[in-house]
């Protein structure tokens, strides 16, 4: 997707500073709970056991489309030349889910496998995924 203007980009909050710093370096930072091993994103405490220490990992970049939509209306000038465009929720193989644009529209379906890419805006970047087919 080639955007015609800068889309809204998130500012880091107290739980996501590390996540967004890693994103700018083209990595998705994962946090693995040091107590129960559940992998999650941008947490101060574990959403499973409330423990507050994590091992930092990097997502391999493989995932599955949990859900998607194609947006047919222009809500923001950044997307005025892109409609309809696909975006959705990708479940990383490590477990966490993330909102992202999805390319290769012909393969986009729930359960389709995707590969991580990035879209850069100056010194910022957001995750994006390319669909390539069915769940293996």
């Amino acid at each position: 997707m080639v955007l015609s203007a800068l889309p809204p980009l998130p500012d880091a909050d107290i739980s996501s500073a590390g996540f967004f710093a890693a994103l700018a370096e083209h990595h998705i930072e994962l946090q693995q709970c040091a107590n129960c091993s559940v992998v999650q994103i941008a947490r101060l405490t574990c959403d499973n056991c409330a423990y507050d220490a994590f091992d930092i990992r990097t997502a391999a970049g493989d995932g599955t489309i949990y859900s998607f939509t194609r947006i047919h209306l222009v809500y923001h000038p950044a997307f005025e030349n892109s409609v309809p465009y696909a975006a959705g929720i990708v479940e990383l193989d490590e477990g966490p889910r993330i909102f992202a644009p999805i390319s290769a529209s012909e393969h986009v379906r729930v359960g389709a496998r995707v590969l991580l890419e990035f879209i850069t805006f100056g010194d910022r970047a957001i995750p994006s995924f390319r669909a390539y087919g069915e769940r293996r």
Binding site: P7, P8, L9, P10, D11, A12, D13, S15, S16, F19, V38, V39, Q40, I41, A42, D47, N48, Y66, S67, F68, T69, R70, I71, H72, L73, V74, Y75, H76, P77, A78, F79, S82, P84, Y85, A87, G88, I89, E91, G95, P96, R97, I98, F99, A100, P101, R109, V110, G111, I126, P127
Partner: protein
């Protein structure tokens, strides 16, 4: 606990796509109309609960409403912020307050003015520059507005249960069939399956008729105790049960945040409180900002197994003449979108027996509200008769 609470007043203002007064003024007029409807002097109101759309601020509609109304010495005053679940959450709070004696007569009001003639409702998103945190990545991905996130829920639902867009079409056309009978509904012309599918997509799989119709307006209700209700103007409408449910599911493997409604939590609480269960309920007024919502609600409240609620819309059960009437005023989809007060207003009108051509057996009515990405839910059961108390 048994609630000692009844809805005795209903006020509606606006319900139009034309320009109106600001939200706080619509709210003021709606509270006045509700107290008049109840046969109460405004100064009998000693509690005020104010609901607004999540994008609005105190400057649009806030605690100043007390002074606008000239209400003195209130014993309960709050802005209730629970996204689409605010209206029933407020009414639940009012019911608990009058039951406990914290206040005697509580007005609950929602007002919104999203429609600016000549300007698309979505144009506000164009000014969005920054967002916050990981959740903000939805906007970077181009997922603006409720249609986008409810589309993700709808798409997941269809895939999970192996059903198709006919399920959504069933909701939209059933709701329109009721709107044809409802003088206040915005869209009253018949909607066939063919015209549903001919309409453009907004956010796949949601088409035009899967999305609610924003209007400018306000709805207020007045809640008081049962004994006070008996002396007032209107047929009594008791609040037989009320509960909230907020799943708080993580967004990761093993959880289905997109299609788990808090209705499951609320249903269990309400059925236990009241002894009423799904087979006892004669009509449903379900939050339907998008057509996916009533499907999840009917399943959460035990009217259908997971992934099968669409059959109730398809086989006519939910339509005029059906055995389980749903959204008899046209809902948010074909009626008017006042975020959670729409199903409340229709439930009160039905329970009073004032629904005219669309009147159904309405002695035990389920009313629901949903907000967030199905993150926030509130429900209540309204009833007319003493059989439950």
């Amino acid at each position: 606990m048994v609630l000692d609470a009844s809805i005795v007043g209903l006020g509606k203002v606006g319900l139009t796509r034309d320009a109106t007064a600001p939200a706080i003024e619509l709210a003021r007029r709606a509270v006045l109309a509700a107290s008049k409807d109840a046969g109460l002097r405004l100064d009998a109101v000693d509690g005020l609960l104010i609901c607004r759309t999540s994008a609005a601020t105190d400057a649009v509609l806030g605690l100043d409403l007390q002074r606008s109304l000239g209400l003195r010495d209130l014993k309960l005053l709050q802005v209730v912020l629970c996204e689409g679940a605010s209206s029933i959450s407020a009414i639940q709070t009012a019911a608990l307050a009058v039951t406990a004696g914290v206040a005697t007569t509580v007005a609950c009001v929602f007002a919104d003015t999203p429609v600016v003639p000549g300007q698309p409702a979505r144009s506000g998103f164009g000014r969005l520059k920054t967002t916050t945190g990981v959740e903000g990545l939805r906007y970077s991905a181009g997922l603006f507005g409720g249609a986008a996130t409810y589309a993700l829920s709808a798409q997941r639902y269809l895939a999970q249960y192996g059903v198709d867009e006919e399920y959504l079409a069933g909701v939209a056309t059933s709701t329109r069939a009721w709107a044809e009978l409802s003088p206040e509904a915005m869209f009253r012309s018949p909607l066939t399956r063919e015209s549903y599918f001919a309409a453009r997509y907004i956010a796949e799989p949601l088409r035009l008729y899967d999305c609610a119709i924003p209007v400018n307006g306000a709805v207020a209700v007045i809640v008081t105790t049962r004994s006070r209700a008996a002396d007032l103007e209107q047929p009594v409408v008791h609040i037989l049960a009320a509960a909230q449910g907020h799943p708080g599911l993580p967004d990761r493997s093993g959880f289905d945040r997109a299609i788990v409604s808090g209705g499951q939590v609320a249903a269990a609480a309400m059925y236990e409180q009241s002894g009423i269960h799904a087979p006892d309920i004669t009509a449903c007024q379900l939050y339907d900002a998008f057509s996916i919502c009533p499907l999840l609600s009917l399943e959460a409240y035990g009217f259908a197994a997971a992934g099968t609620a669409g059959e109730l819309f398809r086989d006519g059960s939910t339509r005029p003449g059906g055995r389980l009437p749903v959204n008899t005023g046209g809902g948010h989809l074909s009626g008017y979108y006042l975020q959670g007060m729409t199903p409340v207003a229709e439930a009160v009108t039905q329970a009073r027996g004032q629904a005219g051509d669309r009147q159904v057996t309405a002695d035990t009515i389920l009313v629901t509200n949903d907000g967030g990405r199905f993150d926030y839910h509130a429900g209540m059961i309204l009833g007319t008769a003493g059989q439950w108390s």
